[in-house]
């Protein structure tokens, strides 16, 4: 779910009501596996690659991609977490979640950082994440993997790896987990 919608989930507001299931668990797993292959292909292996899941929706996907990478290449890539709350421009969007911490245990200088998020919407979270990453060091490259690209970008940001391109209306909401991807609405 994009951050824009998350703030309306309990305890901060509304409830997500699914209208249709776009991907089931098996399809999500296949998409994750394909993205893993693409990451390996684009980087010609996994040397210096590290994954960073964006809090909170991107964290499980980063773990799932890392697992797939290990199955495919037999290499265990470092996985970190990043919370961008303090970097947001739309700072009134959501409160800081105490459980959403930042932990990147490896030095990111000269590494290829693959940001991982569940849903790419306006691109503002990614903009904040780029700033947050730059404050941690100077990576050689930053790439972006998202489970769902739902369009409606407000910034010139594009993903490098996409699980599913999903055309949506602005008023709709997308819920993406490792179990399923659903399209629906936020209601109260």
């Amino acid at each position: 779910m994009a951050e824009r919608e998350r703030r309306r989930t309990p305890p901060y507001g509304g409830v997500f009501v699914a209208r249709s299931e776009v991907l089931d668990q098996a399809a999500v797993r296949r998409a994750v596996r394909r993205m893993a292959h693409e990451i390996i292909e684009a980087n010609e292996g996994l040397t210096d690659v590290l994954l960073v899941g964006l809090q909170t929706g991107g964290v499980p996907f980063a773990a799932a991609i890392a697992e797939a990478l290990e199955e495919i290449e037999g290499v265990s890539v470092p996985v970190g977490r990043l919370d961008v709350a303090f970097y947001r421009d739309d700072i009134n969007l959501r409160p800081v979640l105490p459980e959403a911490d930042t932990e990147i245990n490896t030095d990111i200088d000269r590494k290829v950082v693959v940001l991982v998020d569940d849903v790419l919407f306006t691109g503002r979270t990614i903009r904040a994440a780029l700033d947050a990453i730059m404050d941690q060091g100077r990576p050689r490259a930053i790439q972006l993997a998202v489970m769902v690209d739902r369009g409606h970008r407000e910034l010139p940001i594009r993903p490098d790896y996409v699980g599913k391109n999903l055309p949506t209306r602005r008023s709709e909401a997308v819920n993406a987990t490792l179990e399923r991807v659903e399209l629906g609405e936020m209601t109260r």
Partner: protein, 357 residues
């Protein structure tokens, strides 16, 4: 949260929320670039009408770590020395368009009064004998860091309770967070109303020493030495000072705390101040993330304001204050709180909160 004047305006949930947020900022401070753009474009004035080094430096650093602009103002260099009234001074600062004023003043109630004269947020950095809420928060943060929580801990606050804003705010915060507090000190330095405090009172430090998780020593101020409230410094040290002999009777995992600056050899022996159980420097270190949390809660999105985002009016409709149906819980409490002017003098808004939730 518009202002932070007193811990009395905060309930347990508010305190825990601030401590959690401070924990996030403690993580930020460990990064290679310990600075985030969260309060970029906000201006914070440090209005210190009374001298202070650590509180002022700590607030200053906290604001800068959040990318806020900081203006320093001290009474000794200002027009207050030329006879300008507090109100005129505050209105002058306010007219320059600042977002928050951090106030230290020797008169109890000054921050509360200033909050009524300005549109800016007011943060109390210590007023008279009244309150020092960020000190209480950073002390709670230090204790939580060691023990995980304050629940069930036994804490003694020892020294000049009567003239101590630290005692007032700390006892309130500690007990709200689940600790049991004992006040220790000479009768002449006990406030007359200790019956109303959520604490037990004793004049004998030795009675409680062995059972304590935390011994919190207050500073004996120089001006009290000649006030006749206790016979002599030596007498004070022998009865209420944390001497080497007394510290030997403290548990090995107990914490020794002091808000600083310490009078070594009066309320604390020099060797005890450097004891491995002393967390005085951890307290100072906790000041920055805790004050970042307070500034962020007051000037940033806060927890309450997130419920009334300015970009989507349909959500604003819900924040009308009397919405108590549905899931209840935290969000309802916060809604009510934000709608009931939490700055309007402690008790009334706090009890209103109780009724609704």
């Amino acid at each position: 949260m518009k202002h932070l004047i007193s811990t009395l305006d905060l309930d347990r949930q508010d305190l825990e929320g601030l401590l959690d947020l401070a924990n996030n900022f403690a993580g930020v401070l460990k990064r290679p670039i310990p600075k985030v753009p969260a309060l970029r474009g906000k201006t914070v004035v440090m209005a210190f009408f009374e001298d202070s080094t650590r509180t002022r430096t700590s607030f200053d650093l906290a604001a800068r770590r959040l990318s806020a602009d900081v203006v320093n103002f001290s009474a000794s260099q200002s027009s207050t020395r030329k006879g300008e009234s507090l109100r005129d001074t505050v209105e002058t600062i306010g007219a320059m368009g600042v977002d928050a004023i951090v106030v230290r003043h020797s008169s109890s109630g000054a921050p509360q009064q200033i909050a009524q004269w300005t549109g800016a947020s007011v943060i109390n950095a210590g007023d008279g004998w009244h309150q020092h809420p960020t000190q209480a928060l950073l002390d709670a943060f230090t204790i939580t860091d060691r023990f995980g929580s304050l629940d069930g801990l036994s804490i003694a606050v020892c020294g000049d309770i009567q003239h101590s804003r630290v005692a007032r705010s700390n006892v309130d915060a500690f007990t709200k967070l689940g600790a049991s507090v004992t006040l220790v000190g000479p009768k002449t330095l006990m406030p007359p109303d200790t019956g109303d405090w959520p604490a037990t009172v004793t004049t004998n430090l030795d009675d409680v020493l062995a059972d304590l998780d935390v011994v919190y020593l207050l500073r004996i101020q120089q001006e009290r030495l000649s006030s006749g409230l206790f016979p002599s410094v030596r007498e004070y040290r022998s009865r209420w000072g944390l001497t080497v002999e007394r510290s030997a009777r403290l548990r090995s995992d107990a914490l020794i705390m002091h808000p600083g600056p310490m009078n070594r050899g009066v309320e604390i022996d020099p060797e005890v101040a450097d004891d491995s159980r002393s967390v005085v420097l951890d307290q100072v270190a906790a000041g920055v993330p805790v004050r970042m949390a307070v500034l962020y809660r007051v000037l940033g999105p806060g927890q309450f304001d997130a419920l009334t985002p300015d970009d989507e009016p349909e959500v604003v409709d819900d924040a009308d204050g009397d919405q108590v149906d549905g899931d209840g819980g935290p969000s309802t409490r916060q809604l009510v709180r934000s709608a009931s002017a939490p700055d309007s003098g402690s008790d009334s808004s706090a009890s209103h909160l109780e009724e609704v939730s």
